[in-house]
């Protein structure tokens, strides 16, 4: 799914804050460094290639990746002023659902 620029910016901020809250500033930098080194993925490109991001954190943290994903989603909900609901949906699907809600809430013409 293609996100609009504003949403991408908010999502990057949420990923930043989510990673930082669990791994700290340097831990976050390490994740971005590895994403760039291993997949050629820049921080700004993550919203367009979320599957690479999730694949990488799952590869590193195993089950623990779920906590990072939930933290990112919670942060994103807070930024978008949307309610966080616990779901069994996959990370990418949840982000896409939030994008749809965001479009409905803010971009309705």
């Amino acid at each position: 799914m293609k996100f609009d620029e504003e949403f991408k910016g908010i999502l990057i901020e949420a990923i930043d804050e989510g990673l930082k809250s669990i791994l700290g500033e340097n831990g976050k930098k390490v994740i971005y460094y590895h994403l760039k080194e291993l997949y050629g993925l820049e921080r700004e490109e993550i919203p367009e290639k979320l599957e690479i991001f999730t694949e990488y954190i799952n590869k590193i943290f195993g089950l623990g990746a779920k906590i990072i994903e939930i933290t990112i989603i919670k942060t994103l909900c807070l930024k978008l002023k949307l309610e966080y609901k616990e779901k069994k949906t996959k990370f990418i699907d949840y982000i896409e659902e939030l994008y749809k809600d965001y479009m409905k809430k803010y971009k309705r013409k």
């Binding site: 791994l23 390490v30 799952n58």
Partner: protein, 253 residues
């Protein structure tokens, strides 16, 4: 990946070398006494250095969870390194053949507190992925293990001698098991990921410490422990496992 295998190879060679040194100690008793007292501060110093490297890598500020985790790890392992060094000073410089209990024990016991905090914080921040069933069953297994150890090894020791010596020597395996309990949970969280390997080695390390401290408790009470006792190998394997754990952690994350 190659560098990681190189570390495995070096560790394997070191394990074989250590086993051979302990097996053939009858041929060089004097050397063995020195080796048995000099090697522990060296290897625990290397563990401490690796924890400092990890601390340097992940440190940002005290308020951050991950920074705090590695700060506590380094402090705890620093105390354990001090414990080993103090023991070596007693035996090699002051000429005390078996400095137990001593100031070294104070350092070792204090070291458990920051190590507990670091492991607890690490596992706690990811623990929500574990089901209650997993947490309860791991806890029950740990409690059963503690009871078995109490009945079979600690109570018999107390029956022989109930003193500050036996209390201190019994404290080690109990504290090790508490740490092992947390590290098992950590392994269950991360085993599917690349840092799962790091947690596997942390588990192997603490398992070695549990067995080593239990045997130490037993042999010291029966007066059969001596510098160069083969049980020391387990302490060395534990240290080696922690070195590998920190190395892998830094490599993968």
């Amino acid at each position: 990946m190659n560098a990681q295998y190189k570390y495995y190879e070096i560790s394997l060679v070191l394990v074989i070398f250590l086993i051979l040194i302990y097996v053939f100690q009858g041929f060089y008793y004097d050397f063995m006494y020195i080796f048995s007292n000099i090697f522990p501060p060296i290897i625990s110093g290397i563990v401490f250095c690796f924890s400092i490297l990890a601390f340097k890598k992940y440190w940002t500020k005290i308020k951050e969870y991950f920074s705090m985790i590695w700060l506590c790890f380094s402090i705890g392992l620093g105390f354990w390194f001090l414990g080993e060094t103090t023991w070596a000073i007693y035996t090699l410089i002051l000429g005390v053949e078996l400095p137990f209990p001593s100031i070294a024990d104070i350092f070792w016991l204090i070291g458990y507190i920051p190590i507990f905090i670091s492991l607890f914080l690490y596992v706690k921040s990811f623990s929500k992925v574990l089901s209650n069933k997993t947490i309860y069953s791991t806890t029950i297994i740990t409690i059963i293990l503690l009871i078995i150890i109490f009945i079979t090894l600690i109570i018999p020791v107390f029956e022989i001698e109930f003193s500050i010596n036996t209390i201190i020597s019994s404290a080690y395996p109990i504290l090790d098991i508490i740490l092992l309990h947390i590290t098992i949970l950590g392994f269950l969280i991360f085993y599917k990921g690349k840092i799962g390997k790091s947690w596997l080695f942390i588990n192997l390390g603490f398992t070695s410490y549990v067995i080593a401290d239990l045997l130490f408790n037993y042999f010291i009470t029966y007066g059969t422990y001596y510098c160069g006792h083969p049980l020391e190998l387990l302490f060395h394997f534990g240290d080696l496992s922690l070195i590998l754990a920190f190395y892998i952690h830094m490599k993968e994350l």
